[in-house]
Symmetry: C4
Subunit: 381 residues, 4 copies
């Protein structure tokens, strides 16, 4: 079914990644516009897609777009910076790369390119369980880049629960051994549809020899999902407590939107939370992380909160931080930049976003991240 | 005026129904997109149309689309299912097929195909007074399918009041004799415009020899509708009480939106209500069933409520149930699937919607329908 | 500058009015779609246009479109009708034809065609000061139609203040002599831009020999409108009191949106008000009549209120009456129907709207206009 | 990279400015539609652009467009006018020309043409630090026009802070010497992106020999903007106090949106404020001036407030004044008119806007600007 010449979703032959950044690119939106030419059609639809009507994707952007920023000129900006402390590490800025699966769909060097760019631009990096390179390779690339540059940023491992706790634990032990500095456990995507078949040459490199669990409903079954092993084995608070007891690394729970669940996750040992709707890929009509963020911050005043899903501009980061996030994760934009210009593209994207972030902070009269708060937003409700 | 070769509304020759389901269909929206090629132009407009500006159609979708789902990962989903008890029957899931008139407009096998698919997928089926096959034939097909599969779902008869109570009662008696398990009396569509002429070969098979009542205003009349026999004979609470006294079957009133009327209908003997605006086909600008549902549920905490009009996705069913419905009816999507692939199409559609429903329940942390409630929705008003 | 062959705004040669109503017309929107072929380009833009950005036009429709109708099936509709009493006359229904200027732009027979259609369909008729036939001719046509049909509807004269009270009074006296039954004094359009030049053959037939007042600002003037005779001579409450004292006919003030002004107009002698923004032709961004109607009704519980501007469907009339209007005026739709099929078109349009009105009333469970009220609307604010 | 023949953004050869105003122009929107043919592509994008997603541009228009004007016919308009007193001067009307940089991008005569048109139409004029003609030349043109016409309007100088106070003061002294009557100090645009390269022949004529400060971040720097000289030298309240002490001219602070900052600016010596978001060119997602205006007016009841950013129609000016502004500034529309027809175009634009303003005032029943207030707006929130 694959044509001899791979095509992009516009029906054109796929273009190789650029050796340099196209001159006219000056924002993440420009990378998206270019990336469509560099990614094979099926993979593009998989990367871009939300699900069903894609209302969740719309919610994610609407939540950012309806907010109004309120500048504060004539503030004292001297000595300003974007540093923050997070789980015992100091970050140069609050932009991290989300755990993006199968980055080889965007560029042959995949995670190895993106992690090098992240370290060069001092952006925290989350390696996915479903990475197309092995977690050990990614860590090695990150450490080499840190050593070469004399600087760097946090390196965390994102964990999907495996069919047995033994195999989940094996991944945690491998991450510890490879030098990852935190475990990010994703709880929102174990029960979902999967219609995408990986092209040849792309695979879950970390999971050779691991068991897998698939939807197995039979014709005439009284249920399709519920009551099957797939649903019965979904992540639980019990598993969270077990995981907390199983590693010394900081433990971050990713995929929380519900203030009640946020409190329970912390009560069961989470050190931090990623407020995320998984890029609106799992449940259509889902609430956006930005909409729930103020409630979660209110009920958990001291817990580090990272906001994921929908961040495209530096002003988005500013809005999330003003509403209570400590930092934000970047998702699809990283794949777009990776597809267009590899490591160089991701580094450029990060530089653009850092610039946008600092320009917005300056306009808002905030010399440091701590000064970002609800006062930076005009309440027009 | 009918061309020699029937055309669809795109001006193309009509395609026959597929012998198999087209590969790229994975949602009810895909069926709609395909169905336009399989339904003759006039019938397509009749099926798809709301009325006037079609604001009612828009309201129906907006009411679903503005809601935000709030996932609850890490819930205990073990032993989950979608069963419910309704009017003394146990249903495998809360998706029923609405009483759709003249299904032969979509597919030659019409109601016989859709009722077989319903029984195979354990979906309740409502046969319309205006079906293009006789109610006795539809019931026979349903019972044969139940017997063959060893499973099934409720079979109900939808009643439009006839010009005389004698003829209405005749329909009820025929439905009882044929084994229908409830009477669904529609009260919202007796006074409406009808500009659609049935094509040759399609007819109200149940009503041979029955009288009919048509708009009869004369030029110069002081009124056109009001004060004519058409309006004077509209369904009344008296007729409801009479109907209640006339049959032992459960009696469901379909077409209620008004909380006051909902209470009165129950007070006059309705066992359950279908909250419906008749697919926005009768009154433009009409409120959507989902908008009024919470008020009706609040004033009738124990009455079974079925929501009709606008359901297209499994997440829609979840939203309706979260706001107080016991089950939902599927309308136009069934005609689309029927037109594309006959019985197979309808069965596939039901499987897709059941899957969507269960995936959404799993995401929302609900192992059973009882757990769906307002907590599953983010209040962003 | 006028081309040899007159063109419509689509650049096509103008079509003559149809001798019969095109088969596919079944609503006022259909008439609008057809009318564009029958009206010369400049006149079309003049008729259709609001002003500036045309936000006022949008407001007029949005105000209707955002409302939700709440049906009430099973009501007792026996003996229903649409009659109402207004200023001492009994009307068969609450649909009147607004005072539309220069109807010869739409059809050669102009006001003579529309007034005959109005009388045939028992719709009240407001003749404009700026009619393209003399008010005496229009009245004669109306009376002849009434006599012939043995039925009819109110005939009122719309008055624009003339540069001198003497000339205004002359128009009132002519209207009284011709048998008009009320004076409708328009107060909202004396100070406005006028960029439209009447084509040859169309003129203000009533105003031969009357003086006129035009914008006369000179280069270097300190103001352009304010402080000039045009603004200084605008309608005033003094003039209202004088007019009230000058005629025995009922006096209706047209062009009120402001609740304070509505009370003052009544205090100065107005017998009724037309809540109107002049079809959004005078001031862009103007509030819509429907938005202000509830406040005006609340402060003037007993004053007859007619709603003008934006009515296109029978459901619009129902919404206006539910919010407190006694009747509604029809504007642009009349010109569209007139252009398409002359008298026949206007009569057909009125029949369509009456049918829509009665169908909506039946759906809402209202047998008479008095039963229309806020309960017919779902409050979704 | 510049093509031999300059092209507009539609890819057509650039048209010279018209020697006369095109006949079909009757609003600022018409000028915009024409201007695209007369401005070189890069310059057009620079002039038209907001930044990033251009949500700020959208906010600016939405804020005007959502308001509803409430007419008040039958008011006494005799002796009406549009005069106002502002900072010791009497203005014929409340429309001023904003300090638009590099007007030679639109027309070779640039600021010399626009200032002559302003004086002819008695519109206040703000000359930009970044004008393409020297401030002394602009002042000379203004004074010559005033003398010739025997009338005129305020002439103010807009100041951008220079890298040293010495150079800022030099500009102030030159402005005083040239006869400018106020200093307008812009505080909202010192830290921003600048991707636009001036074409040859266009330059900052006032700044020959002045130092400049550019973004100088190095690869590997821990910050890009914050903590660099660019951010550290941003306008401050200290600088405001110094500037206040340095000149006898009235001092206006431009670029305030924040009510708190507005109060502080006045406390530090500002005689008036320009409520502006710099045409949404600096920070995307920024709140619109009209949204914040009521709060600023409430906290500063007596301070002259000028509203900038988004004004396109006379009704916009009316809305701003109704919400508390004393006057408004015109931005992009002036460049459009300048490009289309030079001085004549700008004069025509001002005449159109004055006419629109006075027509709207007449409709609202306001004979003078003082009568414009919240009562002129319908509260539909």
């Amino acid at each position: 079914m694959t044509p001899a010449t791979p095509l992009n979703s516009l029906g054109q032959p796929l273009r190789a990644a650029h050796a340099r950044i196209p001159a006219e690119i000056s924002s993440s939106a420009d990378y998206e516009r270019h990336a469509v030419h560099h990614i094979e059609a099926q993979a593009w639809r998989h990367i871009q897609g939300g699900c069903d009507q894609e209302r969740g994707l719309a919610h994610n952007r609407q939540a950012f777009d309806r907010l109004r920023l309120l500048p504060a000129p004539m503030a004292d900006l001297r000595g300003g910076h974007t540093r923050l402390d997070l789980l015992g590490q100091t970050l140069a800025h609050p932009l991290l790369i989300a755990p993006l699966a199968y980055q080889a769909l965007a560029h042959a060097e995949g995670e190895l390119a993106s992690v090098r760019a992240a370290m060069a631009l001092q952006a925290g990096y989350l390696a996915s369980t479903l990475s197309s390179h092995r977690l050990e390779e990614i860590a090695a690339a990150a450490h080499a880049a840190r050593d070469e540059l004399g600087q760097g940023a946090p390196l965390w491992f994102q964990l999907y629960s495996q069919p047995t706790r033994e195999h989940s634990l094996a991944l945690v032990r491998r991450a510890e051994a490879a030098g990852y500095e935190a475990i990010v456990w994703t709880v929102d995507a174990s029960v979902k549809r999967s219609g995408f078949a990986l092209p040849s040459g792309v695979e879950a490199a970390n999971l050779h020899g691991y068991p897998s669990l698939r939807q197995t409903s039979q014709a005439g079954a009284r249920t399709i999902i519920l009551g099957t092993p797939l649903a019965d084995a979904a992540p639980s608070l019990d598993e969270l407590a077990w995981l907390r007891a199983s590693t010394q690394l900081p433990l971050i729970v990713k995929g929380v939107l519900n203030p009640r669940l946020a409190r329970e996750a912390v009560a069961h040992g989470a050190d931090a939370l990623v407020i995320s709707n998984h890029g609106a890929r799992v449940l259509d009509g889902v609430v956006s992380p930005l909409e729930v963020l103020p409630s979660i911050r209110q009920s958990l005043p001291a817990t580090p909160l990272l906001l994921d899903s929908g961040v495209r501009w530096g002003t988005d980061a500013v809005k999330a931080l003003a509403l209570g996030a400590n930092a934000v994760l970047l998702g699809r934009p990283v794949l777009h930049a990776l597809a267009v210009a590899g490591m160089l593209g991701v580094a450029h994207l990060l530089h653009l976003l850092r610039t946008e972030l600092e320009l917005a902070m300056a306009q808002l009269g905030c010399a440091t991240l701590e000064q970002l708060g609800p006062d930076c937003l005009w309440n027009n409700s």
